[in-house]
Symmetry: C2
Subunit: 266 residues, 2 copies
């Protein structure tokens, strides 16, 4: 399940490579402004790497840097922690960026466009494809981004949480933005049909269904004859709706045979 930590000793190298031979292309940098708990920085690093991001910058982390707890929480994502850069001011952390979005729960305070995570990810993707360096600002645990930080941004990202229960921690906010980035970046979902899921051809299906009807006929199932067609159609629709695979059709033919043989041997 998704809970298993699948560590890959090759991952750090692949993530760190920026020479075009790595698996990850250009991506936004996550900037944590005055984060407090090392655990939360570590959780951010994990969430980032889960979705293929590795550029992390910290502005005035409360407990200094490096931070043991961040490393411990990051677990397999230490590559992100190890390469994190520390800055004294938000302006310095984004000085080399062309486009910056700020995550905040108070979108109405600032005179900036407000984007959904999906819109923000698409905007970031477009800019990055255009060669721009981009960043996402996240505020600290206590009070989030101050207005003086938000004004550095070109747009605000607002996550559509339940207004009656809007608490999202730093790691969760980072996870959602990283997830939307991965989708905007065209990360192929694992959502491909397994080879065994190839549906049977109509010919195979008809052969199976014909076999079933034949045996049912022998068993006298369709008596009285006047309702035969109606019953056949209903039966066929039920099997058809299942979208049977080639293997399943073959297995079902075996089932029919077995049932018939079993009945004969009684």
């Amino acid at each position: 399940m998704i809970d298993k930590t699948i560590t890959n000793p090759q991952a750090p190298g692949r993530v760190a490579r920026r020479d075009g031979r790595g698996t990850l292309g250009a991506a936004p940098i996550f900037v944590l402004v005055e984060p407090q708990m090392g655990e939360n920085i570590g959780a951010c690093a994990r969430a980032m790497l889960n979705f293929g991001l590795s550029g992390l910058r910290l502005v005035n982390p409360r407990d200094g840097w490096p931070n043991e707890r961040a490393g411990a929480m990051a677990a397999g994502a230490t590559i992100v922690i190890d390469q994190a850069q520390v800055f004294d001011a938000t302006a310095d952390a984004i000085a080399d960026c062309q486009y910056v979005v700020a995550t905040t729960a108070r979108p109405r305070e600032a005179l900036l466009p407000v984007l959904t995570p999906n819109e923000a990810a698409n905007a970031l993707k477009k800019r990055i494809s255009n060669g721009e360096k981009c960043a996402v600002l996240f505020g600290g645990e206590r009070s989030g981004l101050a207005t003086k930080d938000v004004v550095h941004a070109d747009a605000i990202v607002s996550i559509p949480v339940n207004p009656a229960f809007a608490s999202l921690n730093l790691g969760q906010a980072a996870l959602l933005i990283a997830y939307e980035w991965a989708i905007a970046d065209g990360r192929e979902a694992v959502a491909v049909a397994a080879p065994d899921l190839m549906p049977a051809t109509k010919e195979d299906f008809e052969r199976f269904f014909g076999h079933l009807i034949e045996e049912l006929d022998r068993a006298g199932y369709f008596y009285p004859e006047d309702r035969r067609l109606n019953r056949q159609h209903k039966l066929k629709a039920a099997f058809q709706r299942a979208g049977l695979t080639e293997k399943e059709v073959s297995a079902l033919r075996g089932v029919i045979k077995a049932l018939v043989m079993g009945a004969k041997n009684k």
Copy 2:
């Protein structure tokens, strides 16, 4: 920022109401199969409530139920914890459901359609709008969903994580699915333009720009005259690109006046 816990004493009542007067409509039930740590159950409850979900079912929680740690971690989402139902078997937990999806990192093992979180959320929304009761299965921390659990599902949901670093914990997986549900359910993002963001009318903008040109003219800015139009156009494009609001246009007129007055008083 999104880290602030915004607790609303009215929330539990609103969430619990199923009489049509509450703020939350029908939604999928989250079923945790053999979860181990109470903290993770609590994190799931929080993630659910963050996105407006409240139906939680547990199959054989390792440490029994109720679990203090789950309650502590759930914080303001205790309503979800308090109403959680416990079952001995996965089949019992979903017996009243018409459509079930299973989250797993091993989509190729089962002969089921594999959906992205977005596709799954849309499928759930469609079924629920149709009056069907739906559930999402999540596996336990150690080994995820067993095949015997997955076969209860109609489809598999696979989160497109970085294959080189695919660890997502229970709470994170629940967060992403709940987030996609909220979007599929039409949760309005807070992404509405603030009233102050209303762009200025073209008339207001032209009046401001005319004012600027007038003052620049007085200052001899457009000498030599042959490049006047070109320079005016460039200047206008820059201001236009900013998408100035009514208030900003008004403020800028004040700026022009102040600059001119200041110059006169020198």
